[in-house]
Assembly symmetry: D3
Homo-oligomer: 279 residues x 6
């Protein structure tokens, strides 16, 4: 894992074959995100996306207190784009636009990552934690997770993706508006009932173990099939059925020519474990 050893705020390990485990590693600051952290975050997932050694990634927070408490408010207020930009309202706005875009792009890296990303939420998981989790594919949490779309409480509409993605990943818009506008805490049970998470585990160790199990299962499947499924689901979520079907035709017209299809079908018939090449 030496290729991942230079990151300052993230620890990347491989707890199982083809599985990367990314930990936000700044527990003394509740894994809060300053600009340096989110830029690094984007780079970690770009590297994993391109790294044929990995087929699945897990994301969790180091320590026992927080997945992440969100934006590092102290850092944001001392080194703020607001205080550091000169000029009139329009010039400030231009600076802010480009600042928000850079931030959004970094956090979107897990969504753009070609491999599935499993998110393990636990303890304090507020503000940016939700923006981050919305970009991952499958969300697990611990029973004591404290969730909140917190931005309204610092006078902001959440701008790093929660408002763009949350209405598309859970079912009840009444609930989405409630939690996004009140900034209230919601529990693991509520998150499960609303479909925001798929599993609750008693504690972080158990949740991470479950994530590793799930990741190992995904890593044992054809990477062509799994990565194609992520791509087509993400595409399908935002396009008409007609557009999706057309895109799927082109996508699978090459996927069906690969060796995985034959390997998997043969293994399935012969009831033996298939072995897939790197992707």
């Amino acid at each position: 894992m030496s290729a991942y050893s230079s990151y300052q705020y993230f620890r990347v390990t491989s707890p199982a074959e083809h599985v990367a485990h990314v930990e936000i590693n700044n527990p003394r600051r509740l894994n809060a995100f300053s600009q340096a952290v989110w830029l690094e975050y984007g780079k970690v997932f770009e590297q994993i996306s391109a790294d044929p050694a990995f087929r699945v990634a897990i994301l969790s927070g180091a320590g026992d207190r927080a997945f992440t408490s969100g934006l590092d408010v102290k850092s944001a207020s001392t080194d703020s784009p607001l205080t550091s930009s000169d000029g009139d309202e329009v010039r400030k706005a231009k600076y802010l636009r480009s600042h928000i875009e850079e931030f959004q792009t970094s956090i979107s890296a897990a969504e753009k990552c070609e491999k599935p990303v499993i998110c393990v939420l636990h303890d304090v998981s507020i503000g940016l934690a939700i923006d981050i989790a919305c970009c991952t594919d499958i969300r697990l949490c611990t029973a004591n997770t404290r969730f909140a779309v917190k931005e309204v409480d610092i006078g902001l509409a959440a701008d790093i993706g929660t408002l763009a993605r949350l209405p598309k990943i859970v079912g009840s818009l009444s609930w989405v508006k409630d939690v996004c506008m009140t900034a209230r805490d919601f529990s693991a049970t509520e998150a499960l009932a609303q479909g925001f998470v798929s599993q609750i585990h008693p504690d972080k160790a158990t949740a991470v173990a479950a994530a590793i199990n799930l990741a190992s299962l995904l890593a044992s499947k054809s990477p062509v099939a799994v990565q194609g499924t992520k791509e087509l689901l993400n595409y399908g979520k935002e396009h008409t059925v007609a557009d999706s079907l057309r895109y799927t035709q082109v996508w699978n017209s090459v996927a069906l020519q690969g060796e995985d299809f034959m390997t998997a079908m043969m293994s399935s018939m012969q009831k033996k474990k298939p072995n897939f090449s790197k992707l």
Copy 2:
């Protein structure tokens, strides 16, 4: 509240600071909607949208029998666009199109209202009640609410918005098609399970009190943050993530320059209650 005293079918009060309470006020007719009622309905929410005195609105029905029984069928059949229009099929169709558009536009006013609208459904809540509720942001109900997408039973596909909005605000399309095509009643419990409402309360008084509490909470937050959140969620629901992120950049490039951000962040750090200017 004298600015709102001239409405014939609606009573507007302010049960808490910055909170407007709109009651459909024709209980003897089960709060049914004739054309005069829906035109007034649109005006009420346009006025609240533009009125800096209010930051949140609550919508409920007067009386103990109905939120609303929907279209005032008696009025619709005596003063019907069908009977009042001359000409051939095309000329009737043109008249009907413009009649439906006016009706849709009036009912859409709560969605277009820049402030959050909390809807309290109770007792009879059928037909147009669902079109109306779909345009509000957070839906509460009483345990005895009788819901139905009733239009099929008068020979119609619902045309005032239920069919356009319901698939986007709850999760299960199988359920949506069931209730929209059978026109069957569904209960508060079912509405909660499907995510159509967010809370059930034992009776109307309790439900309204809960709505006022929720509204007061929203009214205590930064109106810039809350109204921005409504706008960005409504935008996000109907655009791609990429489009939403771009729109959000521009939106927050000005919102971040306002005083609310600093006020809220300072209050948050100092653990004191912030005070926000009118919006």
Copy 3:
């Protein structure tokens, strides 16, 4: 029902007035789909769509072992587009694109059918079973149904519509990605909790009886209203609210001129059962 007697793989009966019951009728092969089966499947639903005798269709699998086990893998591997096509990668890809398109078009026939389609899932319901069910309007199942989005296990991203439609018909994208990427089984209870099905019944006979009851209810309603509701919900699911409202105006500008509206409204007022012409 002689008009439907020539199908080789499907049995079409009429268990109630205006109700067609389509059974996938190849139980010895677990109702698996070869190319001949899916081409016939498309034709059945095209015929029902155009047949004024029917107002609702039910789809189930013959026998006690499977709704369908999905693709007939044996047939697919002996008569495969992969083995039967010559040429380089691009020529194979063209052949595969057109093969997938034909397959998708056949399976989409239930979605395109102008009448509501109720799907009864039971026992083995994997792979293509989910693509098929996603195209129907209301989904019921038996308690013992074994569901799985199975394609990943044969090295494929599902390409006959599941990935395009599933994110739009249930609420939790975390769950969708879980079941689509792991290819794991899920139960009737899970399918109900996620909103994929609307009802669970103890066994197939009960489930089919419930489907017939539901179909009879739909068949007793105005076909103009019911079919318009299907069209507008399908349209609404994939267009903006503004586009949907505009389309609805035009749609109902003619629907309101028909006899059903008056018939239904009069019957509703007079509390008697309405009678609607064929459509």
Copy 4:
């Protein structure tokens, strides 16, 4: 024409059967638009859209100096939304958004008008003149027309519709960007070559006469056919071909039932002038 006599800034006459001629009537101020003018402008076209007496409208400017010189800068600077709004940047922004929206909605009225609108541009036709002309259907001009997308020269991106519509109504985006970014004048010849206008006439009298001829021709046709054509072209311009074809099916499924189709077809066969009912 007494129904149109109360407008202060517009003169509405009927130079031919079923033809309305709207003149911007403030020639001493070069037909510039203050807020009072644009609000009235919106009302004029709403009235014509709903008035069965008219089937076509012509728009021109009174006097010999200008179609319109655009925004009334003097009025805008004394009674500006910028100077009249209080509050911080966000509150000003909210006021400005709603101010721009009202302005856009007024100017869009000619596009939304169900009847075709023919625009006669002449002399000074700059700034808002282009926003206005982009909303009309067929554009004519005089040889001496001085066109310019002038907003950049007052420090603004044009916000009343030119930038949204111009790329969709002419062919060369290189030209669009040139004239919109330089704010330079362009001539009638250039406007014709680029497809912005369809005809050039030597002087205003001739141009208006040509517009009346064209309007009379349109007014002699089936209003069902002409208004349907406007609707379907406007729809087609902004939707996919598949969406347009579907919308067209519904639209014409009622239009074909009207009397105009039979009237026109019979007249066409019998080579006599058809007579169509009001619409």
Copy 5:
């Protein structure tokens, strides 16, 4: 060419290698289209699309009087969907919708055809002639061609595709609205100036010869490259640039693996004529 000998209204020949020439072959009736004609028309282009013998198609009209005079009005009035359908307005509308859809689908076959289609317009080319031409890829005409979007003159908005496609294939919307709403004739010169056609030839023989030359040139190129270009241009016309670039990545990720790329590049370097396999 025996595979194409059974068509009643179309003659299909092969004037050059890989080139199909389709002639509308009912010159005594000015090549007018009854239902039988358009159904056959759709089948011709479906067959060519799937036939590896052909890489390009040319479409022209037999005889010296017309490309086509459009709808066969006589046939339409004796065997009209209007006269042959029973029931109320809604039932008629349903019949008409499905009739229009079938007609649209047939005429769209040239657009859906995977090979380029070159259209040679000449003499009478009105009404449906324009719907047809809009679906082809490259349009040529003779100097004496008489064009008209004629539908308004029979009381209709054109519903077989002109209004959906014409705004997307020429530049000037002012011109499009003029010709679509007035139903006036326009000349070859005007069609060239507006970009509707690409070449004018003195007479039909010369035009057809030019089409054959152009078709032969296209047929000499890599069919992977030419057909991919048609697909990507048609896709690009209706999607955002971002969507197009993504679709292109997937499309070319297989196209680049084919033999044509190497064949063409080698031939280009060696300055010799390449030879491509069938597609």
Copy 6:
């Protein structure tokens, strides 16, 4: 200009205040693009986009023989993604997709650049030259420019943007399909007639001088206005009018608060040259 001195394949100078001149600087190889060249190309325009010193950029090719001859075919064939990638068809396809995406992203940099980019085409301008030019805002050329969408001749559909953008920046789709499918040369005169370029100049020196004049004019305007115009035109080209108007409201709600609006309006009234701050 030392900040731009490290580029190997591009020379960046400033021929006028606020104007950057980017030259593709590899004339001995006809300014052909290898991977190293396009990666650098992307970086140049990213740097200019963020550099407040510049308000406009000009792009031309060094030397007298070519703007660019397109892809460096020699480099592409020796260091090809096809030859350098291992694995089966799917693994090659993944490599190719990411290779194409990187290439597309680099070339899109001029479109994404917040400042207007003026392109001067001259001599050989084929293949990638068209992809590049399509991303710029205003296109000029010399009389002797030899244009061609050349990719079909190397067995490819153009995949770096021409097919996605060209149908949206000129008017005639018949012409677009002709030049993209035949790969034939077209002249400056033809490019002007089709609206692909806006000006023809006798030779390169004159064309560059004209570009500098145009750039200086743009640089003298409010950068807020000019850059806002680029953004809103690019947005408008790909969104509905309704979406564009809404985006414009938000955009200008901050732009109108800036100093440029007042500066420009005052200067305009006082007929003096305005002076704008950096942006």
